[in-house]
Symmetry: C2
Subunit: 329 residues, 2 copies
């Protein structure tokens, strides 16, 4: 027992909550914040809402992610889904399920990571409510809410043949960071061990940072909506795979160009978790500054996605967590 960092099971729920609330900051969009039955958010037109859960084992390992990293990532991946609708994130609800022996210092760092991600990626958005539950498995379920401020939502289903395909953000960097973790920071038995950054070169360190604390270009979502994007989605599972989903939803085909995408094509086409924004714009329109053109929308012809002229086949990503013993590390 470490007296300076008690376990959550040794504290009352209200004590744990107080430690969290003092760290997540106030939610400017909340008329009613934490402490009542539910949060109440200011009226700002139609509400955009999404939820995504990070589970210890399949989605992260405590040997590799700090509490701050986990809070940041849980916020960032949900904020990206709001941005991908062309909306402005307004508030998060955070449901934590934690083993009794989770250290309060870890929970505090997680709260700080949630706040830092909001402040950095979506200023004005903050935690407005949540829930704490005991569980054998640590999970962070975040619901993000957003406002369209009177604009229509940018769906993934309205891309048209001739549109420019554009990308804001990294492609494949976070996936390279995941490979660094799996390749370099496991012991002989395959169990994750703590990261020693001094063993990594600058590119590897950047990739690791993006894997643990992704930095999706969230403001680009609203910018794309304002610029008339016809379709948009966030790239969570890999560019080619997600492009195929956009193509299917819109009933079109997409041609992508690896040189325009940039980076190493071994990562940029199939790597997920960067949460870049993939969007389509009417042909000839000037793109918002965060976006670079990476291809063209064409009529459907049975091949959803071509990369450098060749049909893209297969899932397009790998998911080492899923193929790996979920109980270790």
């Amino acid at each position: 027992m470490r007296d300076d960092d008690p376990a959550v099971g040794d504290l009352s729920e209200s004590a744990v909550l107080a430690r969290i609330l003092s760290r997540v900051g106030a939610a400017p969009e909340a008329i009613v914040g934490p402490g009542d039955d539910a949060a109440v958010l200011r009226d700002a037109g139609p509400v955009v809402a999404t939820t995504d859960t990070l589970v210890h084992g399949p989605d992260f390992r405590l040997a590799w992610s700090s509490g701050f990293d986990l809070g940041w990532k849980a916020a960032a991946v949900n904020l990206a889904d709001i941005a991908a609708m062309g909306a402005r994130p307004t508030a998060l609800l955070v449901a934590l399920t934690m083993p009794d022996d989770t250290r309060i210092g870890f929970v505090e760092a997680l709260a700080e990571g949630l706040r830092a991600a909001c402040d950095s990626l979506a200023p004005g958005c903050a935690v407005a409510g949540g829930d704490l539950t005991v569980s054998p498995t640590l999970t962070v379920a975040v619901t993000a809410l957003g406002s369209l401020d009177g604009r229509p939502a940018v769906r993934r289903s309205e891309a048209r043949a001739g549109d420019t395909v554009a990308l804001a953000g990294d492609a494949g960097v976070a996936a390279r960071g995941l490979a660094v973790l799996f390749d370099r920071f496991r012991d002989a038995a395959g169990t994750p061990v703590a990261v020693d950054r001094s063993l990594l070169d600058a590119a590897e360190q950047t990739a690791l940072d993006r894997q643990l604390r992704p930095e999706p270009p969230l403001a680009a979502g609203v910018a794309a909506a304002r610029a008339g994007a016809t379709a948009m989605m966030d790239v969570s599972d890999g560019l080619a795979l997600d492009a195929g989903r956009l193509a299917a939803a819109s009933g079109v085909g997409l041609d992508l160009d690896t040189e325009m995408i940039g980076g190493d094509p071994r990562w940029s086409i199939s790597g997920g978790e960067d949460h870049a924004l993939l969007a389509t714009f009417p042909p000839g329109d000037r793109l918002p500054s965060a976006f670079r053109p990476i291809g063209r929308v064409r009529a459907a012809d049975g091949v959803p996605v071509r990369v450098d002229g060749r049909p893209h086949r297969g899932r397009g990503g790998w998911d080492p967590y899923r193929d790996w013993d979920a109980q270790r590390g």
Copy 2:
């Protein structure tokens, strides 16, 4: 392996999702429903939002709860928090974390339970989005959203001395049902066993039903708001305990009368999970039909809650799950 009921780990995520979506029905308040990055809800003024997670072990046992029960309860407990703000539930987001060997039939029943609870307790509300993740521990994290339709939220902090304290719904019935489960449906080693309803009398069967599929009087929440309720909350942890929270938030004291509450005081004062609505109304005002008077608000005097004239002390509830091996059943 049961071919007629495959495990979720043997199906693709999209196949699992399709089975769920065919069962949860359409969400009438959703402009954009499942299938995009986020749901978009019709503009209906300030948004009320809450989240609550049910975790296998601490919150439910599969030996006792069917998939349908679990879906129903996960919806009901969240819908109650929306109603307790005086709001009309509009949509649910549902994040499931499930072991790979979870049967698809269980997941389908869970989806049907979510829909049935919405249809029965909050018509017009439905599932508008969600998330699926693999986890060693089955959890159901629901976010409920609601609309105030132009009314202010009814908080728990505005009760005034002289107000009538009123209750809509059961007090202690669900807790009695939990005791039935713990007392009658565990084997000699304490492990949960399947419920045999034929062993129960009518009152026990009702109590069991309310524990597994609570029926909070959700329409009473909007009725209370319209009638001018000064404060309101849902009773999730026990009447006296939650009354103490309302008293603390409002800076007042509450006097409760067990005869007016009704039922067996051994359960009605301390039993949780009925998700009844506890509200206060200006003195002399006619109560909405779902509410019965159960006491009076008085000025704060150092005793938050008196029951039949005697100070209520202690937590006021018991939580057998928490004191019990979380790995069994």
